[in-house]
Symmetry: C2
Amino acid sequence: MKIDLYSLNILATVVREGSFGQAATVLNTTQSAVSYQIRKLEERLGIPLFDRSLHRATLTSAGEIVLEEGRRLLESARQIEVLTERFADGWEPNLKVIVDGILPIEPILKALKVMAEENIPTRIQVKVEFLGGVQYRFVKEHADIMLVKDYQPDPSLNEHQLEEMESILVAAREHPLSSMKQASLDDLHHYVELTVHDSSEQYVPGGDRMMFGGERIFYMSDFNSKKQALLMGLGFGWMPSFLVEKEMKEKSLIEVAYRGGSRHRFRPSLIHRAGNSLGKGGRRFRELIIGK
Amino acid sequence: MKIDLYSLNILATVVREGSFGQAATVLNTTQSAVSYQIRKLEERLGIPLFDRSLHRATLTSAGEIVLEEGRRLLESARQIEVLTERFADGWEPNLKVIVDGILPIEPILKALKVMAEENIPTRIQVKVEFLGGVQYRFVKEHADIMLVKDYQPDPSLNEHQLEEMESILVAAREHPLSSMKQASLDDLHHYVELTVHDSSEQYVPGGDRMMFGGERIFYMSDFNSKKQALLMGLGFGWMPSFLVEKEMKEKSLIEVAYRGGSRHRFRPSLIHRAGNSLGKGGRRFRELIIGK
DNA sequence: TCTTTCCATCGAAATTTTCGATGAAGTTCC
DNA sequence: GGAACTTCATCGAAAATTTCGATGGAAAGA
C-alpha cells in the first residue's frame, strides 16, 4: 500500500495553506515533518508531487490528480469515522424488525421515514411474517424487535401492548355463508376456509387459534391476496378490520353470522428482549411505534 | 484521522483468511503485530470490531460495516495507485490539444476512442479554435499539441505535415457571384465576405491571408454556421472542400470563378514542442493522427 | 543589500511498530 | 478425560519510523 491517509491529509493541507510551513502550523507539527511526509509519499508513488524549482513548491499535474483523488478518499474515510462515532455513541449498526402482516404497515413506514430524516446511522431491516412465523423468525434470526399479534410469553422478553385491533369473520356477498342468519361450526366446515401461511419451518401444533379446523383450507401468502380470494367468493376467513372497512361498507364483503362470534378483539404487542438489549436505534423505533 | 489504510487492509485480510495468525502469514508479519494493529484500530474508533468471547474472533456488526466501507476505501486507494504507477511509467496526467476548426474532427474523435479503449490514464482535453487563435491558445495555455492549418514557424516546435486538404471559394446558387463567368477582386468587394473568427485577444495584422479585404465582412463562430450563412446567400467565402462536397454536387453551393484562384491547397500540420516534451499519451495521440 | 520566506537535510530524540516468547482458553481427536 | 493443537492477548526488548530543532541555500521582497 503506497498510499496512506495521513500523508494525503498533509498533502491536502499543504495545498490548502499554500506552504509547507503554514501547513505544519495548522497540523501542529514542524515544517521538517511535513517535508518528510511529502517526500516519502513521492518516493512511494515514484513521481514528484511538487515542483521545487520555483520559490514556492507548486503541484505538478500528477500532484493535482493525486490531490483530487486523495481528497475524495479522505472524505470517504471521514464518513466512516462519523459512522463509527455514532456506533460508539450507542447507535447499533443493524436493527432487525419482524412484523406480523396482520398489522397495518403504515405506522411502521412513518417511523422509518422519521428515522431516515433524523439521519440515524442504523441500518433497519423490516421483515413481514405471519402468525407463528413472526416469533419463529424473531428467535431464529436474532431479530431485535417484533411487532406481533400473538406470541409465546417468555420472561426474557419485554412486551409493550399497542392499540387494540379487531378481526372480523367475513365472506363475499355471493358466498352462501353471507346469507345465513346463524352459522354453526358445522356450517363453516362445509366451506373453504382462507388463511395466510407463515414460513416457520416447523409444524406448530395449534399454531393459529383462530382457525376452525375444517377440511378444506386455502393458504394465501398475505392478507391482500386473502382479501382478493375472499372477494372472489373462494371461501370465508378472518380479516383485520382496517383492511376490509371499505369492502364492508360497499357490502362486497359480509360479516359471517357465526354463533361462536364473528369479531375478535386483540392487542398487538411490540416485543424485544428484556434488559438493555436495544441500542439507540431500537429505542427510537420503539418510541415512534408506541407513540412515546 | 482515526482510520488508516494499513490497519484496514489488515482487518480485511484477517476476515478473508479467517484468523489473525493466517492473516499474519499472508502479510509476512507476526500474529502479535496483527493483533496490535487491530486493537489499535478498535481503540481509535472506540468500538470493538471483533467479538473475542468465542474461540475464533468473529466480526461484530459494527465490524462488518467498517469492513464493508473499508474495502471500498482500499479499492479506491488501489485505483489511485494504479493511476500513479502509470504516471510514473511515463503517461502524463493531462494532455491539451488545440485543433483548428477547419480540419475534419472525425480522425481526432477516432483517436480519442482508440485511446479510451486502450485505457490510457491521460486526461485529454481538446479545444477547437480558428486561424491565429489556434497558435495563440497553444502558447497561452501551454497546450501540448496543436493541429493547425497555418502557424508561425518556430525552431522550438516540431512539425509533422498531415494530408493535403483543399479550400474552395463558394457562394450559394442564387448569389450573383455564382453566375459570373469571371470574377475580379473588385467584383468580390461588392459582396459580403464570410469568415470565422478566432478568439485570440490581440489583433494580428494580416492574420488571415485568405481574406480579400473588402469592407463588409461577417464573422461566424465556426464552419458549420458559415456554411449555413453561405447557403442562405448571405455572402461568399472559403470552405474546406470536405464540408461542401455534398452541397456542390447538389449545386446548392457553387464555386466562384475568381480570377485569382478559387481553390487553395494546403497541408495542415501536427505541432508539438521539440525534444522529449510529449509523454506517452501525447506520443500515442500523435501516432494515431499521423497514421503511424 | 538586507531581510524574510520557503524548503531540504541532518543527527538526535521520541514514538510507533514488530518480534519472539509465553500463557490462557477453547477445540479436536484419540 | 486428556494430549495435542489452534486461537488470540500480552509483555519486554529490538527495530523501524517519525518528529524535532537547527542549519543552510535559494528566491522574493523591501
